[in-house]
């Protein structure tokens, strides 16, 4: 038996091609017989090994063994493939686009999502989260915040009064600032807290105004807190919330409970300050107010303004997604249309 005859008998490529073409278990069984069975070429070679010269015997023997092993492996693999394919085809065709079993996740309200984002930014800056009642007394909502009775700044906030106590003594809080007073009344400096919550204004509803909305305020009180600390904090918040490249801006303003006071705004994140519809072509978006805590306010809560200083800031929560996503009118937040709730 020459090498050519041996090669013809042990043609692995041809064997593999035949195995790959098989599509049924019957064909596999037939191939197994013809390729490795008693009447196969390999079987014939095996019979003739004993007639070969001694030096050829181990070589041919090894070749036969390797060929048989490879063919068996290929046959087994193909058989498994054919069996799997047959198994799959036993059920009807699969359509996963039909629908679901109806298990769905719900959605946190966009206000809650925004509030959590804001809370998380300040928590990362080292702040705690403080809360207080929505029905407040005049002291916490106005007087302790340096709005004396009859002060014109009280007219800046249309107030809901509640039928408790003396007339106009109990109000629905017009801002979250009374929580600042409550925190300072109960906690000694250093204080680094934020106060998210619901506030009320007794004004006729409009696309931008709602009788109810949400604010988040921040408060820092310690020795040697400066206006520079306030400006730096507002910029740190701006970067954390709006991203790199958005700048904060403070312009002088007036609030009874802070002095110096400032309006807080950011360079428009949509046009990078070039001017667009969102920023009314000014390049800036006003977001809220801030300032150094007025010494009268510190005095009202028993903190010595000569020893301690502090800053406070605040802005509307709804305003953030109104700017970011264009949600409007503000009433949308409180109508609870499921189409809105599921959009975010």
């Amino acid at each position: 038996m020459d090498d050519a005859a041996l090669a013809a008998a042990l043609d692995l490529d041809a064997a593999r091609a035949a195995i790959g073409a098989a599509v049924s278990i019957d064909e596999i069984d037939e191939l197994r017989r013809s390729l490795t069975g008693k009447k196969s070429l390999v079987a014939a070679v095996k019979v003739r090994i004993k007639d070969l010269p001694n030096d050829r015997k181990p070589v041919v023997g090894a070749a036969v063994k390797a060929f048989t092993a490879s063919v068996t492996e290929a046959l087994d693999a193909r058989k498994t493939e054919i069996e799997r394919a047959a198994a799959v085809r036993r059920g009807p065709a699969l359509d996963l686009t039909l629908g679901t079993h109806g298990r769905r996740r719900g959605h946190l309200h966009l206000i809650t999502q925004t509030q959590r984002e804001l809370e998380d930014v300040f928590v990362a800056l080292g702040y705690q989260v403080a809360e207080g009642p929505e029905v407040e007394d005049d002291w916490h909502n106005f007087e302790a915040l340096n709005f004396p009775p009859g002060h014109p700044a009280r007219a800046m906030q249309d107030t809901f009064y509640v039928q408790l106590g003396d007339p106009e003594q109990v109000v629905l809080r017009t801002h979250t600032s009374p929580v600042q007073i409550r925190v300072m009344e109960t906690q000694a400096p250093p204080i680094f807290s934020i106060m998210p919550g619901r506030v009320y204004r007794n004004e006729a509803p409009s696309p931008r105004n709602s009788s109810v909305f949400h604010q988040i305020e921040g408060l820092a009180v310690d020795r040697s807190i400066t206006f520079g600390d306030l400006a730096g904090t507002m910029q740190a918040f701006t970067t954390a919330y709006f991203g790199e490249g958005v700048r904060s801006r403070l312009l002088p303003s007036y609030f009874p409970f802070t002095e110096p006071s400032a309006e807080y705004g950011v360079s428009c994140p949509f046009c990078a300050g070039a001017g667009c519809r969102v920023c009314s072509h000014t390049g800036w978006i006003e977001l809220g107010g801030c300032g150094m805590i007025d010494p009268n306010v510190l005095g009202n809560v028993g903190i010595d303004p000569e020893e301690y200083s502090g800053f406070a800031f605040g802005f509307g929560i709804e305003r953030m997604p109104m700017i970011k996503y264009g949600v409007q009118p503000i009433k949308t937040f409180f109508d609870d249309d499921i189409r809105f709730l599921e959009q975010y």
Partner: protein
């Protein structure tokens, strides 16, 4: 406050570009809400005189106007009905530009080519009067650019002035700020009044009976010739947002805007007794104000009476109709006063009457500029109303207003602002604002200007320094919070967890307005006692503060249903309000949570959709109890207010009712779908006893499962039987649950079969068949005995 730049330039030579001025105003805290440049879009429009008006040969409405525009003559076609020969008009030739981006082209109108057009006020951007062509004063130079003729090359800044800065509600005040900012000269000219005739005091009298409410009262008298204001004054008032009325009224408004000094002009001949008496009103006294409304006064209101003690004005707020100036007025008494800000604020609030005057008085005008305001008024009346002004004005200042003396420390400025200013920098920041500063520092004694009622304390001056150096120049730093770690409290984390669990269960979060209508409670059968009420709500449906979250959430269900959205799973968390307890001032305010399922739960394609039912609530309760590790949160069937009778359960935690759950009665909703809901006292839920979290080792021995079915009275809750079963296992029951319930005629009325699957497992060995048999018998005996049950086959 609307401030025309041309007017500002009367007091300081600001040359900066309008944008730079606006930027400066913003950085000074005088917020610019808008910039108007009325003439910006007008180009090439000139003054012309109509020489002749002729008929158009081919048109009825249009006519031909021959015009002279100074450097030429031309004929244009015009459709306006009001043109006549001799009229001076604005002519826009071909190539001229008009507001709205219009550039004029020659136009063929019925066979005649018109080179340009004559303009109406609308076409020039001057308001919405398009009834005819604008008529200009007859002496206007022909050929002059109309921007110049109409002073339209002006810029108007619309400023939002904060309530602490009454001084900036005037042109002079704004000019002073800009002069300081741009380091420019600033001067308010002293009014020049030519006086003649009898002294004021010989003509009129002034008595102030309420000096604390009226610390200063200046009266001047003058004869006047009533008429229209000159164009320049009418134009400035218009640009500043005021409607010209008559020369005398316009002058008072002009001085109010220019100097922040509200004035009132009384018709002298209609002031009884030719005099003024300032006193408090009496309760029930009546006054008809200029707006023709009769006002009922109180003893809190300050009134200006004539010498016969008849009220003629609600002091500082609005004049009375009786002594109002009119066409027939020939002499006026000009009132310039300083009224107590708080008094004006209270009267204005009580009467609901607000005016430009009251707005300024209640914020505090300059008490030292009162006489100058009256003089400025007289100076202008001489110019525009031919006034003859009486000498020696009456100036009653029984109670002069003191200026504030304030010490400012350079160290304090630097410490609060985070700056490193030298003392001279502090002084230089303050002086241009009119603050008198003494000494070389570092601590300065200062005197606040009389026009700045907001400057009373050192911190007020620190703010001025901050404004003057510019907030943007203060270096940004971060406070050192190293003593404190940020974070949420356990309670805040738990609340987030509750929301997250509900979201995981498929519920979306609602946020509704906590102010609701009483009807929302009554239709649920909830009581109306113990509520907290808003007394001045503008809306009837926002009258009370919710005592529970559910009514608002059900309203959300109805709103969605009205949009055809009936398959809902919603929850809401938030404060609920109950009348105060134990003598507290503030309400009992706590956190509540409500969950509602409405319509159908989608199950297709594998199963048909099913209506929501109370087991959706049971799932929710179980998940919440599990998430919060509550040791015992149970549903106990019983009637609960707010839910359908016989279809509800209480939520019981540690033996205390913390909420309710069940079906909502169909008549409590507009939505015509099944609705189930639960409401929980979230505070109580979070305060519940938590399960022991000590690790329980997992048994590696095999479990033994048995099933038992009992027939028993249907009123016995499954949970009761489960409790009985659990007590029998001597700690070997790993799990037990109901796996079947049925009723049949064979079982008898009022009875049902409940089947239980029990899994026993020992932590330390394999249970023998005998042991399991014994446990099974103990379970059977216990249930049979305790619940009068019988074991099913």
């Amino acid at each position: 406050m609307r401030a025309p730049l041309s007017w500002i330039r009367d007091f300081t030579p600001v040359e900066a570009d309008a944008r730079d001025v606006a930027e400066a105003l913003d950085h000074l805290g005088l917020e610019v809400e808008g910039i108007e440049e009325p003439g910006r879009e007008l180009g090439g429009v000139v003054v012309a005189r109509i020489l002749d008006v002729r008929a158009h040969p081919n048109a009825d409405r249009a006519r031909l106007a021959d015009i002279d525009y100074g450097i030429g003559r031309i004929t244009v076609v015009c459709g306006a009905p009001n043109i006549v020969a001799g009229m001076v008009v604005a002519y826009a030739p071909t190539g001229a530009t008009l507001p709205g981006g219009i550039t004029l082209e020659a136009k063929d109108i019925r066979g005649i080519v018109s080179e340009g057009m004559l303009c109406s006020p609308t076409e020039l951007g001057l308001g919405d009067d398009h009834s005819g062509i604008l008529a200009l004063p007859e002496d206007t130079d022909l050929g002059l650019d109309v921007r110049e003729a109409l002073e339209l090359d002006d810029v108007v800044f619309d400023l939002s002035i904060t309530p602490n800065r009454p001084d900036a509600m005037s042109i002079v005040g704004i000019a002073r700020e800009l002069a300081a900012h741009f380091s420019l000269p600033f001067e308010v000219p002293t009014p020049q009044v030519v006086e003649s005739g009898a002294a004021t005091g010989d003509q009129v009298s002034v008595v102030v009976d309420a000096p604390d409410r009226c610390p200063r009262y200046v009266a001047r008298v003058a004869t006047v010739t009533m008429g229209e204001s000159p164009a320049w004054m009418a134009r400035r008032l218009t640009l500043a947002g005021m409607r010209p009325i008559s020369n005398v009224v316009d002058v008072t408004n002009y001085v109010l805007l220019e100097r922040n000094q509200p004035l009132h002009a009384f018709d002298l001949d209609r002031l009884g007794g030719k005099g003024i008496r300032v006193r408090l009103a009496t309760d029930g006294e009546r006054l008809t104000t200029l707006d023709r409304v009769e006002r009922m006064l109180t003893a809190e209101d300050l009134v200006i009476c004539d010498a016969n003690d008849r009220p003629q004005a609600l002091a500082g707020i609005m004049g009375g109709g009786d002594s109002e100036v009119s066409d027939t007025t020939t002499a006026v008494l000009i009132e310039a006063a300083y009224f107590d800000p708080m008094g004006i604020a209270r009267s204005s609030k009580r009467t609901g009457l607000r005016s430009e005057s009251s707005h300024r008085f209640e914020r505090g005008i300059d008490p030292e500029a009162v006489a100058a305001g009256a003089d400025r008024c007289c100076e202008l009346l001489q110019e525009v109303a031919g006034a003859v002004v009486a000498p020696a004005p009456l100036d009653v200042s029984p109670d002069p207003v003191e200026r504030a003396h304030i010490t400012i420390r350079t160290d304090r400025v630097n410490q609060l602002l985070g700056l490193d200013l030298v003392p001279t920098a502090v002084r230089d920041a303050l002086v241009p604002l009119g603050i008198e500063v003494e000494g070389k520092g570092p601590d300065f004694a200062t005197v606040a200007p009389s026009w700045r009622p907001d400057l009373e304390r050192e911190i007020d001056l620190v703010e001025e320094v901050a404004r003057r150096v510019g907030l943007a120049t203060i270096p940004q730093t971060l406070p050192n919070v190293s003593g404190q770690t940020g974070g949420l409290t356990p309670r805040q984390r738990d609340r987030r967890l509750v929301a997250d669990v509900l979201v995981g269960l498929g519920c979306s979060e609602a946020v509704s307005v906590p102010l609701i209508a009483p009807a929302q409670l009554t239709k649920l059968g909830l009581p109306l006692d113990g509520l907290v009420e808003a007394v001045n709500s503008l809306r009837a449906d926002e009258a009370i503060l919710r005592p529970a979250v559910l009514p608002g959430l059900l309203a959300a269900v109805d709103r969605n249903a009205a949009q055809g959205l009936t398959d809902l799973a919603l929850f809401e968390m938030g404060h609920v309000f109950r009348a105060p307890t134990d003598g507290a001032l503030l309400p009992d305010e706590r956190d509540g949570v409500a969950v509602v399922f409405a319509g159908s739960v989608l199950r297709r394609p594998a199963e048909p959709d099913r209506p929501v039912d109370v087991y959706d609530l049971a799932d929710t309760v179980r998940a919440l109890g599990d998430a919060l590790d509550l040791a015992s949160l149970e549903l106990v069937a019983t009637d609960v207010a707010g839910f359908a009778a016989g279809r509800a359960a209480s939520l019981v935690l540690d033996g205390v009712v913390v909420g309710g759950a069940g079906e909502i009665a169909a008549d409590a909703l507009d939505a015509e779908v099944p609705v189930v809901a639960l409401e929980l006292d979230l505070d109580a839920l979070l305060a519940g006893e938590r399960r022991d979290r000590t690790f329980r080792p997992l048994s590696r021995f095999p479990a033994s499962n048995i099933d038992l079915a009992f027939v028993l009275d249907e009123r016995i809750a499954a949970a009761t039987v489960l409790t009985t079963l659990r007590a029998t296992g001597t700690g070997l029951i790993e799990a037990v649950r109901v796996f079947d319930e049925f009723r049949s005629d064979a079982l008898g009325p009022g009875r049902r079969s409940l089947a239980f699957a029990i899994r026993y497992r020992s932590p330390e060995r394999t249970l023998t068949d005998d042991e399991v048999g014994g446990l099974r018998q103990a379970a059977i005996d216990a249930v049979v005995t305790a619940h009068d049950a019988e074991l099913r086959g």
